[in-house]
């Protein structure tokens, strides 16, 4: 008979073993490895580089990004999903101790993820036969990834214990991870404990370091620390877990009063209003995002002005890329919750009964999330503008100073008129998002006009052309995640990340990748949209 300590853990493992999706996921990742291997071998023939190393690098970086983006959401819902469904109180009433619940809810997920990684090792070892890489490098890579998964799982578990909702847990865990990355850039000790630095070391030709290096040990220790902290905090943070997470979130009156009050919905725009204020956090969360974006903009301006060894286009590209990654991460989270929340709260039938088509309802839900993305759009635009201006000031201070101060004055006037984030309507937020995107595009146009460096012109063309790919993939990824979230109880986001990852890798190859993938993503995206509406309609009957 299973001891109470492991009861939940064993049950989760049994469920995973019986679920078909477990085997499909492993088979999918193995197939993915084979595809990457085939493409790398094909590419290697032309480039003449070390094919095995290129394959290992591609696979490992993909796994790292995959683990980071999807793992955060997957692991962070361990305890919050029970809080959101109001079932944590029931679990605590049983004979299960907090340790047993933590082990059962998180360690089983970690075991599943480690098995997914383990299933790929034999395929990745084939890289040795392709040349340029040793068995030690492959094993060290997977040890690095395994330790990173352990850290990520326990960090997300801690966030899951602390926060009442999954989104909050993801943001907290992601914030800590982002902070560690920023610290890693400044301090070598922190940087060495992160997988990114370790993998760069492993991928050096002639790597002869230990398989279980400093990063592995540090990640395991940090993960263990997070688990112990989660265990210590469990009783305190989950004491009132019988009350639903939705209630506890909404219960924070300060988030809903004064400047942050949701106000009242406009006629026929109620769904946008509801989603913006009650699903995406409303003005309070928007305010936090605006402040975060402001900090990013100011910091990037300081860096641009103070650091001489950065080229303007490099800074522009890296800021745009960071903004884009943030946008993609938030979009992924939004897509995975946009419709799934309605299913979970059994509110679909009420929405379906509105005197309008389901297509209009789905469109309205989409408008609600666009407003919440405004800070990203404006952030990317402003950062780009300021970086551009900073670069121009260095080259042509006289011509640019007027433009810079004019822009600054316009921005200040706009912000004053809108009283900062006081009761910004959803439409205004959308206008701001559009302005941000237009601003980014203008930067791309103006940069070569004012720049003396021919490299800037080339960079603009590359960014412009390659920009079509991310746009197509973001749209496709969003629709895919939204659709999968209506099909699967959990794991929609990780699966969508894998599928989009494969598409992104394939899109790097000429002809089929450059043309086929964006066109395919566009067409499949249209089908997915129809399927999502149909599924939404079906679920409203069952709900």
């Amino acid at each position: 008979m299973t001891s109470p300590l492991l009861a939940l853990f064993v049950r989760s493992l049994r469920e995973d073993t019986r679920a078909k999706s477990t085997y499909w996921a492993r088979a999918g990742l193995a197939a993915f490895m084979l595809v990457v291997m085939g493409l790398t071998a094909k590419g290697g023939r032309f480039s003449g580089g070390a094919t095995g190393l290129a394959f290992l690098k591609g696979a490992a970086w993909f796994q790292t990004v995959f683990l980071t983006i999807s793992g955060l959401g997957f692991f962070a819902s361990a305890i919050t999903e029970e809080k959101e469904e109001g079932t944590l109180g029931l679990l605590r009433m049983t004979n299960l101790s907090p340790l047993s619940i933590l082990l059962g809810k998180s360690t089983s997920r970690l075991a599943g993820s480690l098995l997914l990684l383990g299933a790929q090792v034999p395929f990745t070892l084939v890289a040795v036969t392709l040349g340029g890489v040793s068995t030690g490098q492959v094993l060290a890579t997977y040890a690095t990834l395994g330790a990173y998964a352990f850290l990520l799982c326990n960090l997300a578990l801690l966030a899951s214990v602390i926060m009442p909702r999954t989104v909050g847990a993801v943001v907290l865990a992601g914030g800590v991870l982002g902070g560690a990355l920023a610290c890693g850039a400044a301090w070598d000790v922190v940087g060495g404990a992160l997988p990114f630095h370790q993998m760069r070391t492993i991928f050096r030709t002639g790597f002869a370091g230990p398989i279980l290096g400093f990063q592995v040990v540090m990640n395991l220790l940090a993960g263990l620390g997070c688990f112990l902290l989660a265990w210590l905090l469990f009783h305190w943070r989950c004491e009132s877990a019988t009350e639903s997470a939705a209630g506890s979130f909404a219960g924070r009156r300060w988030l809903r009063s004064g400047r942050f009050a949701p106000g009242r919905p406009e006629r026929f725009h109620a769904i946008e209003w509801k989603d913006y204020h009650f699903l995406h956090g409303g003005s309070a969360v928007a305010c936090a995002k605006w402040i975060a974006c402001g900090i990013v903009v100011v910091v990037s301006l300081v860096i641009a002005l103070a650091w001489d060894h950065y080229e303007s286009w490099e800074l522009l590209a890296s800021i745009s890329l960071c903004g884009l990654l943030g946008l993609v991460a938030e979009l992924g989270l939004i897509a995975s919750r946009l419709f799934a929340t309605e299913v979970r709260e059994q509110t679909l039938s009420s929405l379906a009964l509105l005197p309008q088509s389901m297509e209009l309802t789905v469109q309205a839900k989409s408008r609600g999330y666009r407003a919440s993305l405004a800070p990203w759009g404006v952030g990317i635009g402003c950062a780009g503008w300021l970086a551009f201006l900073a670069a121009c000031i260095k080259n042509h201070p006289g011509q640019i100073a007027g433009l810079f101060f004019a822009s600054l004055a316009c921005g200040a006037a706009f912000l004053l008129r809108a009283k900062f984030v006081d009761r910004w309507s959803e439409n205004r937020q959308q206008t701001m998002a559009a302005l941000g995107v237009v601003g980014s595009a203008l930067v791309l146009v103006l940069l070569p006009v004012f720049s003396n460096d021919p490299a800037d012109v080339g960079a603009v063309v590359i960014i412009g052309v390659l920009g079509l790919h991310p746009l197509a993939m973001i749209g496709f990824g969003f629709r895919l995640t939204a659709y999968l979230s209506l099909r699967m109880k959990r794991g929609a986001l990780p699966l969508a990340v894998v599928i989009c990852g494969v598409a992104v890798i394939v899109s790097a190859f000429p002809l089929i990748g450059w043309i086929g993938i964006p066109a395919g993503a566009f067409l499949v995206g249209l089908t997915l949209r129809k399927k999502t509406i149909a599924r939404f309609e079906d679920l409203s009957v069952e709900n």
């Binding site: 009242r264 026929f268 725009h269 509110t347 005197p355 409203s540």
Partner: protein, 327 residues
Amino acid sequence: MDPQNVIDIENLSHRYKTHQALSGVSFTVQRQSIHGFVGPNGAGKTTTLKILATLLKPQSADVSRETRVNSVHVFGQHIVGQRNQVRRRMGFMPDHFSMYRQMSVFEYLDFFGAAYGLGQAQRDKIIGDVLTLTDMAGRRDDLISGLSRGMQQRVSLARVLVHDPDLLLLDEPASGLDPRARIELMEILEELRRLGKTIFISSHILSELATLCDHVTILDRGTVKYTGTMRGLISTADGASATYNLTLAAEHPPARDALAALPGMQGVSPPLPNEPRYTLTFDRAQLPLNTILQTALTAGAQIVSFAEDVKHLNQAFMDLTEPGVGA
């Protein structure tokens, strides 16, 4: 189609993959009535309600079962062709709490009012009215997550009323409520009928609806077993013949003999051992009730009561439905 009928269902069938949920269901619901919809678990009540609520599309005619007509009309409008018009005039309360629990009561009702296209001033008035009606005016700023089950049910009902529909479809609204909350809910429904609403209410407990409903439809395994007045359901009358119970102060054989000799009297049962009560079966057309009473009084009997013999509601329900859970 009778204009007095709010709901008109004719030969409705519905099949889920391997399970025939409804077959040849036909009934009507009259304007400004409270119509009970009763049946055991799995009888097809929720399927019918979802079709009426326009959530589920009625399937095309099942030719193999010769049910060629498959039409559902609400307010004379077809629920597929004129779906949006039907939705505007109808409110559906499902059998689960379909609520945004992070909203306050006012925000929740305001959201649905705006979603139905009501202006702010109109919403303010209607929300005030429905909150008063459901006795929730004092809780308008409370979070829904903090309300009791009974109060959440009231908010749910208020939501259904926020766009002022003429027809309310309520799927097991009293399930999970304590006796007091049930009685209060029934009082609200009575008040709504007085306000001119038509209410179609489902339940698997017939006695729960007995005092509330004037009409009832009983469904079992996807087929209608009875549809008509509540009175007609509990009456034991079979066609032209009627059965009445006559209770006397004491046993009185001459009166019994006189009653048995009346033309049209089909039978007079012997009195019960400890109670002088006779069960009379007679032809209603041939023998008026006054004649029976006069005959008993003339014979010198002292009448305590004279009432129609009705079945117990549960007995009526058991007689109409089959044992076991519907497949």
